[in-house]
């Protein structure tokens, strides 16, 4: 019987499904992994005054800030994906979120050029000093498009270090990370969406992330189609309905699924990532030449996903 543990973090529910011999040890390891997620939440929460992100924002325009290794690694991934996606993934959307009224009532300096504040070149990383610098006052990181995945990666690292290798983890049912498959199976099966014939992903030592354009439409300014922002047009995206990405780690899957919905091309993500896009409500497309991690033929069963929640 697998052990399930859960916690609230990053505005959603994280859940771990662990298999192993001794339940007390499994629980102890699982709690350590959940603690890692809580630490990540504390660091990367743009809404909390005491997070690393808020500290970086307060220091924007000043000298570099020394970071913990996890945050530094995450920002490196952010910069890499931002470049590869031609800016459709952008970790500096804080000012845009404020402008669109999706954050607190902090007012932007009207004289400040929004494009400058969103320019990823303004996030300078120093691998030697393990430091980061936001070069202009007003710049603000928002890692909402990658933090859940990164937290899952850290939790999985704890599990593996402590000897738990058979596990499925998910954050808010939109990003999942699989280690070894369940005994007797060759993969964890995750159903993407609540529909009867929804596509499935087969995961083992890989991660899946699904981004959908309309999941929080109610909070958007009138006329916008999506809570996922197109950084080049400074508004909600109108590109895809949804995108699913399978990648070796959850942060990468998380970031690229957002970038695809925001507007980048299926050819932009590095080779080796599995891609599935949804252009209309009943039309899923497999990107050609990519790993076959998905099944989109009509499913023969309607078995719910292991996490018992729609992806």
């Amino acid at each position: 019987m697998p052990l399930r543990l859960a916690c609230q973090a990053m505005g959603t529910r994280f859940e771990l499904v662990l298999a192993g011999q001794r339940e007390d040890q499994l629980r102890a390891v699982g709690e350590l992994a959940l603690e890692e997620i809580q630490i990540a939440h504390g660091r990367w929460n743009a809404f909390a005054n005491d997070s690393v992100l808020s500290h970086l924002a307060r220091c924007a325009g000043g000298p570099p800030v020394t970071l913990d290794p996890e945050t530094f690694d995450l920002l490196q991934t952010c910069v890499r994906v931002a470049k590869q996606s031609r800016g459709f993934f952008n970790p500096l959307l804080g000012p845009l979120l404020h402008k669109l009224g999706l954050r607190d009532e902090t007012k932007l300096d009207p004289a400040e050029d929004l494009g400058t504040l969103l320019d990823v070149k303004g996030l300078v990383l120093d691998p030697k000093g393990h430091s980061a610098q936001l070069t202009r006052p007003g710049m603000q990181l928002d890692l909402g498009a990658i933090a859940k995945g990164a937290a899952l990666d850290l939790a999985a690292r704890v599990l593996v270090e402590e000897g738990v290798t058979c596990a499925l983890l998910h954050g808010g049912t939109s990003t999942a990370l699989a280690l070894d498959p369940p005994p007797g199976k060759d993969a964890w099966q995750v159903v993407i969406g609540p529909e009867k014939h929804a596509p499935r992903a087969h995961l083992a030592h890989s991660a899946l992330s699904v981004s959908a354009a309309n999941s929080r439409r109610g909070s958007l300014p009138r006329g916008d189609h999506s809570h996922i922002l197109d950084p080049h047009r400074s508004r909600g995206t109108r590109h895809l309905k949804a995108a699913a990405v399978v990648a070796p780690n959850a942060a990468t899957a998380d970031a690229w699924s957002t970038a695809l919905v925001a507007g980048c091309l299926p050819s932009d993500p590095p080779q080796g990532l599995g891609l599935l896009t949804q252009t209309t409500s009943d039309s899923w497309l497999l990107a050609p030449g990519r790993p076959s991690c998905f099944h989109i033929e009509p499913c023969t069963t309607t078995t719910p996903p292991l996490t018992a929640a729609p992806f």
Binding site: D24, Q25, R27, A28, V29, E31, L32, E35, G42, R43, A48, N49, D50, S54, H55, R58, C59, G62, V65, T66, L67, D68, P69, D104, E105, H130, E162, G163
Partner: protein, 414 residues
């Protein structure tokens, strides 16, 4: 220690002014980067959970360099190497001090029952010491540490963080100036959902890492969770309990443990007032908080946040018109914001809601300032001993089932 009894006034209470002042000087507690005025070289003793938290906060102090760290657990040393770039790891404190005799200060984050040796060793080597709370697991060790601190002539701070917390300092100034008038009762809780078990691959490591569940050495929930809160309430009221009763049991984690996971205690004071304290490892509702209920109002504290709930017949102050308020069911709380006027004058009042750093940061900051700026120590070894002694009494009451009287001698450092 200075004891500020002055009334909170328009400079300290919360106001949302029209803003527009030209100055951009933020309150000290909101400053992005602390200025200590001198460079410090520090060593970290113990790199488990609390050591890791300390590591994360040290990065915010430009003038503090973590030179070295030590831990007897090899795996934790490996993990610290990843987090503490540029610092060197050692298996023992002696080896660390031998290799780095020029360290200014040591931060002690070993298990509670292993505080005494590194404190005494560090003080003997003329290092300033920050020792995590509780001070120790026994009154004998507390007194030994206190004696060593008294004779060393170095800064010694116990890690009771409430005393360094800007929200708590503001709340205390309200309470002590009579904002809630006479304190009738106090309550505190520390609720979390966690088995307290640390994974370990072999029995030796299991015993070492799971010291919180070892009845031979642990102070249980009273020591590891309650002592911080006991200290806050004693600091607010200058009262120490004279009697304690406690009960509890293993209600959430029936996994063979011998240490209670759910505890209730009643601490009675000389004037008849009481502190009711609850803690559990099986439920997270309302987390960690303290309440002081007075005849004119109630102060609720939740580490990064604080609120004042006024009684209807309490006098109204002019500043209340502008106060930031928050509704809790039928009650409306006034948010406690340190340096509110300064923030309001810049239109940044809301930036003061919720501290910009975790409580640990302020504990470390005040320790460093005591070294470099000769500021008063916010929680001395003697104060640390008193809160720890109360926790020891609670734990004794719990394990024996007998109420414990607390005399002045029980709280004395000699």
């Amino acid at each position: 220690m200075h004891d500020n009894h002055s009334s909170p006034d328009r400079r300290t209470v919360l106001m949302a002014g029209a803003g527009g002042a030209a100055t951009q000087i933020l309150p000290d507690f909101l400053a992005a980067r602390p200025h200590l005025g001198a460079d410090l070289r520090v060593g970290l003793v113990g790199v488990g959970r609390q050591g890791r938290a300390i590591l994360a906060e040290l990065g915010k102090f430009d003038e503090v360099t973590l030179v070295a760290y030590c831990d007897t657990d090899e795996r934790r040393l490996g993990s610290a190497a990843r987090r503490a770039k540029g610092a060197k790891g050692y298996a023992t404190q002696d080896a660390m001090l031998a290799a780095h005799p020029d360290l200014d200060a040591l931060l002690i984050a070993t298990p509670t029952h292993l505080h005494r040796a590194p404190c005494e060793g560090g003080l003997a080597a003329a290092k300033h010491i920050y020792c995590e709370s509780p001070l120790a697991h026994s009154i004998e060790d507390c007194r030994a540490i206190t004696a060593a601190a008294a004779s060393a002539g170095k800064v010694f701070q116990t890690g009771y963080q409430g005393r360094a917390n800007p929200v708590y300092k503001l709340a205390r100034s309200f309470v002590r100036s009579g904002a809630i008038r006479d304190v009738l009762s106090m309550s505190a809780q520390s609720n979390q959902k966690n088995s307290w078990r640390t994974p370990a691959s072999d029995p030796v490591r299991d015993k070492a890492l799971n010291w919180r569940l070892d009845p031979e050495v642990t102070l249980g929930l009273a020591g590891e969770l309650g002592a911080q809160q006991f200290d806050v309430l004693h600091w607010f009221t200058s009262k120490y309990p004279v009697r304690v009763e406690a009960s509890g049991g293993i209600l959430a984690w029936r996994d063979g443990r011998e240490v209670a996971d759910t505890v209730q205690a009643r601490l009675t004071y000389k004037d008849g007032s009481q502190l009711s304290w609850n803690a559990t490892l099986g439920n997270t509702y309302n987390g960690t908080q303290e309440l002081l209920m007075g005849t004119m109002g109630t102060v609720r504290l939740a580490w990064s946040h604080g609120w004042l709930f006024k009684e209807s017949d309490a006098p109204t102050q002019g500043w209340e018109v502008y106060a930031n308020r928050q509704q809790f069911h039928n009650d409306e709380g006034i948010t406690l914001i340190a340096d509110a006027t300064k923030l309001a004058s810049q239109g940044k009042l809301k930036k003061g809601i919720g501290l910009p750093h975790p409580g640990l940061y302020y504990g470390l900051e005040t320790f460093f300032q005591s070294i470099t700026q000769d500021k008063d120590v916010v929680c001395s070894a003697e104060e640390g001993l008193r809160a720890t002694a109360i926790a020891i009494k609670v734990q004794t009451a719990l394990t024996t089932g007998q109420a414990q009287d607390i005399s002045e001698a029980d709280l004395a450092s000699k």
